[in-house]
Each structure stands twice: as structure tokens, then as C-alpha cells.
Amino acid sequence: MRILGIDTSTSVGSAAVVEDDRILGEFYIESNMTHSVKFMPMMGELLNTLDIGMEDMDAVAVTIGPGSFTGLRIGLAHAKAICHALDKPIVGINTLDALAYNMFNMRRTVCPMLDARNEQVYTAIYEDGKRVSEYMGISIHDLIHELRGRDVIISGDGARRYAEVFRDNLPDVILAPAYLMMPRASSIAMLGIEKLKAGEEDNLYKIAPFYMRKPQAERLRELRK
């Protein structure tokens, strides 16, 4: 099975082609340029280099969130259009699952987190490669409380941003190395293959970003009621 992985959920953009258990190619950039400008040319270049056309792909896997709302929509819009045009299966991958997969089989608690601003993160806790908590939107202070006493490795742009606070409050915490810190399209593609094999293909029309947070206007309106 050959699958294209797409990720634009954070400040990193990456594209990968994975065939069964091999990464045929992966491009990864973190630059100030926006995904809307950089991503498609990068993906095109990857396919060019591999001399693989989109029609040679069996499916597309894409991160659906959590992450930057705009970034999620860019990646998903690319993936949806490609799958719609070429009638390919689409499969959505949770960004936190993809980050946890980077540190598969670690003998530690794995806690990926994505910055949700105002000292909040989107996160989940993983043990032995399995998620053992809900997906949470939580303050870093509550998360630190939750993680106290565990041997934990943290990753994601939330971990990067609040590294100091975690180090100060959790003496045994390990920060993921740079090459495992952020989402990778290869991990997303790998998880995509697993999901497809398990028959968990997504519906092209129903797949939507997993925002984990309502629009601010909606939240304020609910508060007022």
C-alpha cells in the first residue's frame, strides 16, 4: 500500500510517501513562509523527485487536528480536493496520535502537546503506544499536576514553548529531541496505513478538522446565555 502523508497542522509543514513499512520520501520544513505558499510546491517536488504521480497513490492521510485552525484547513482542503479529483480514500489522523507515534514503544509516559495559547495546550497521555487519557484542552499548570510523579517525555510545539516551565516543575521530564519534536508526515502516513488496514477509512464529505475548541464568538455567546 502506497500512501501520501500531509501535515500542515503546526508551524511545520511536511509531506511524505510511505509504501507499507518503508518511507520512500519525506520533505519537512519549518519556515516563516506560510503553508498556503510553500506546501503544495514542496509536495509536488517530493513526488517529482520520487517520480511518482498522484494517481499511483492508494490513499491520502492528513492530520485533522488539533492544531492551528487555518493550518488544519489548508492541509485538509488539499487532501480533500486531491482525493475527490482522483477518487482516492482519505484518512484523517489526530495530530497528538501522530506525535505520540514518533515515540512509539518508549518506556516512559509520552505526552505530546500543541500550543493553544494563553498557557493552554491540547494534549493526551500515552503509555506503551496507547492513549490512556481523553484528548484534553488544559492549562499547562493542570497538566503538570497530572504528570507529577511519572517518567514523562513531552513533545509538540506546546512542549517547545513551555519547556522551561515543565523543566522547573517536573525534574525528571525529558524533552523530545528536535527530530521527534514536531509532527512528521511519515508518521501520519504510517498511521494512515494502520487505519486503512483496520477498515477505518474516512468519508470524504464528512471528514472535518478536529478543532477541540469552538469559535470564540460561539463560546462568548454561550457564556452570555
Binding site: S36, I82, A208, Y211
Partner: protein, 339 residues
């Protein structure tokens, strides 16, 4: 050989996909409006609009293809609104169009939304050709545009403050009308006396072709406030009608003057406000008096729609203005060509 263009529009709170043949024959034009969603907030909420766009776009694409009786492989050009508009909303359409063009290996054309509005006239009037002078009036823009060719525009006049549609919306709010303000204000004005109140006409300068609507808006606000203070009833219908007359006359005055001064013999209107009946009626009379031919699109082509985008994309394509995969969203691009 026929050229089929698919148009995609998502610059504000309407998602639309259309198929247009040879630039002017609309095979389908599917529009999904979010008015009901934003109504409870009294205006467009950008994040909510963006979320809706990505939820509906695949459905709209299928509907547009089905109604046109074609499949995606038949498409020759992919056109998409790249600006101006709301950044998050634009990015959904642009990212989707890029994916389509890439997968289908077809040329991609980023379209200027204002140029799209002007193009609505070429869809409505199949034998209309430039040059012509077009008033583009909507919630986001008010321009008098010299249309020298299908893709060559020159801004001759513009608003120095609020857009015409924006002024309509603000006055609607002053009168306590629900969103969307403009159409509701027009409805209210129908029952009113347009000569009931004489609001000041604001021309920034008699010598140029710019307009300003903040003065008349403030005048309405002051009137309503003083009526309320004196605990007198607020005659909403009369105020709406008088306000509408004021704005319409300013727009028409400037448009006709510009047409005469710049030697255009055809005038047209476009954009959301151009479906206003008072504006159409009055302009028809005034254009006739001045010996000008007057064109306007059907209401469905006045609001945001993808057919007009496909039309402009077709002409840009004929002129070789193809976008590459770096095409971005340009929220504040004005009437400049998409790079």
C-alpha cells in the same frame, strides 16, 4: 474547441462552485449561503465562515458537476477567488483549488474577487464587450472601475470611508434591523417616503469621482437619537427610504459624471448593492437621459457566486495569466491582478 472552467468562491460567507463554458455560458452555479448561521451574531464571524466552507465544498463540487452534466476530467481550467476577502475563508477555496488543479494537472487561475463581480455582467449579457464603466458596490467595496478589457481595470473613483453596502448595514443596525442589514433596509424603504428627510449629500470633492458615506450615516444616527430623546416615534420606513435615495443619488451622480468625462458609452453595476431596486431604477433613468447604455446582472450574479469567478478566470487564462502552486490568499489586494 469548448473550454470548461470551474470556478470556486469562498471569500466571505458564501461558498460557491460553478461550471462555465467558454467564459460566458453558465452550466451550473451552486451557492451555499451562510446567512442563517451568522444571523445570530449580527454579522459574519470569520472563523465560523471558514469552518463552514470546508464542510460544504465537496458537496457543492459534486452538485456543480452534476448540474453541468460533466465530470471533473472534462474541466480545462480551475479558477478560484484569491482576494480580496476574509483570509481564512479565502484560504479554504484557494487550498482546495490548488489540490484540484494539481491532481487533475490543469491550469490554475487565481481570480480577483472585484474583477469577478464586474465579470457578472459578461455572463448576463453575452454580447457585452469592454470598454465599459462599472460601479462595483457591495459590503466590502465601492469602486467606479474603468473596464478597458476583460482583464484590464482602472479604478476611477472609490469610497473614502465606508463601502456603500457597509453604510446600508450600519444604518440598518441603527434602525434596529436584523442581519443582513442591506436587503432588510431595502425592504423597509419600500414603504417609506424618500422625500421625508433631506440628509446631507457627502461628496469629498466635486472634482473627483470618490464618494463618502460616513456623513449620511452619522446624520441618520443623530436623527434617530434625537427622536428617541424626545420620545418621539422613529419613522423607520421614511428614514430608510430617504437614506437610500441619498446614497443612490451620490453613486449615480459620480458614475454618470465619470462616464461622460472618460468617454464611456456603456455603464454597468455589480456587487451585492447592485441588486438594489431603487439603484437600478434610478440609474436606468439617468443613463438614458445621458445617452448611455446601462447593464446590470440578475440578482443571483450580484451576490458572491462562482460563475463570475469562472468567467474572469477564463479571460485571464486566454491571456496566459496562469497561477502556480505558490498561489496564496490576498485579503487586501484591492483590484490588483493576482500574481
Amino acid at each position: 474547441m469548448d473550454i470548461l472552467t470551474i470556478g470556486i468562491e469562498s471569500s466571505c460567507d458564501e461558498t460557491s462552485v460553478a461550471v462555465v463554458k467558454n467564459g460566458r455560458e453558465v452550466l451550473s452555479n451552486i451557492i451555499s449561503s451562510q446567512v442563517e448561521v451568522h444571523k445570530i451574531y449580527g454579522g459574519v464571524v470569520p472563523e465560523i465562515a471558514s469552518r463552514r466552507h470546508i464542510e460544504v465544498i465537496d458537496y457543492l463540487l459534486d452538485e456543480a458537476l452534476e448540474e453541468a452534466g460533466i465530470s471533473l476530467e472534462d474541466i480545462d481550467v480551475v479558477g478560484v477567488t484569491a482576494g480580496p476577502g476574509l483570509i481564512g475563508s479565502l484560504l479554504v477555496g484557494v487550498s482546495y483549488a490548488k489540490g484540484l488543479a494539481f491532481a487533475l494537472n490543469k491550469p490554475l487561475v487565481g481570480v480577483n474577487h472585484i474583477a469577478g463581480h464586474i465579470s457578472a455582467n459578461f455572463i448576463e449579457h453575452r454580447d457585452l464587450e469592454p470598454p465599459l464603466l462599472c460601479l462595483v458596490a457591495s459590503g466590502g467595496h465601492s469602486h467606479i472601475v474603468g473596464v478597458r478589457d476583460y482583464t484590464e481595470f482602472e479604478i476611477i473613483g472609490k469610497t473614502t470611508d465606508d463601502a456603500a453596502g457597509e453604510a446600508f448595514d450600519k444604518v440598518a443596525r441603527i434602525l434596529g434591523l436584523p442581519y443582513p442589514g442591506g436587503p432588510n433596509l431595502e425592504k423597509l424603504a419600500m414603504g417609506g417616503n424618500p422625500y421625508a428627510y433631506e440628509f446631507p449629500k457627502s461628496y469629498p470633492s466635486r472634482r473627483d469621482y470618490n464618494f463618502s458615506f460616513s456623513g449620511v450615516k452619522t446624520a441618520v444616527l443623530n436623527l434617530v437619537n434625537s427622536l428617541k430623546m424626545r420620545q418621539e416615534p422613529v419613522p423607520g420606513e421614511d428614514i430608510a427610504a430617504s437614506f437610500q435615495k441619498n446614497v443612490v443619488e451620490v453613486l449615480i451622480d459620480k458614475l454618470i459624471n465619470a462616464a461622460i468625462d472618460f468617454n464611456y458609452d456603456k455603464v454597468a453595476i455589480a456587487g451585492g448593492v447592485s441588486s438594489n431596486k431603487a439603484l437600478r431604477q434610478k440609474l436606468k433613468e439617468e443613463a438614458e437621459k445621458a445617452g448611455l447604455k446601462f447593464y446590470y446582472p440578475a440578482p443571483v450574479y450580484c451576490t458572491d457566486n462562482a460563475a463570475m469567478i469562472a468567467c474572469n478566470a477564463y479571460y485571464e487564462y486566454l491571456r496566459g495569466n496562469i497561477s502556480d502552486m505558490t498561489l496564496n490568499a490576498y485579503p487586501h489586494i484591492g483590484l490588483k491582478r493576482i500574481g
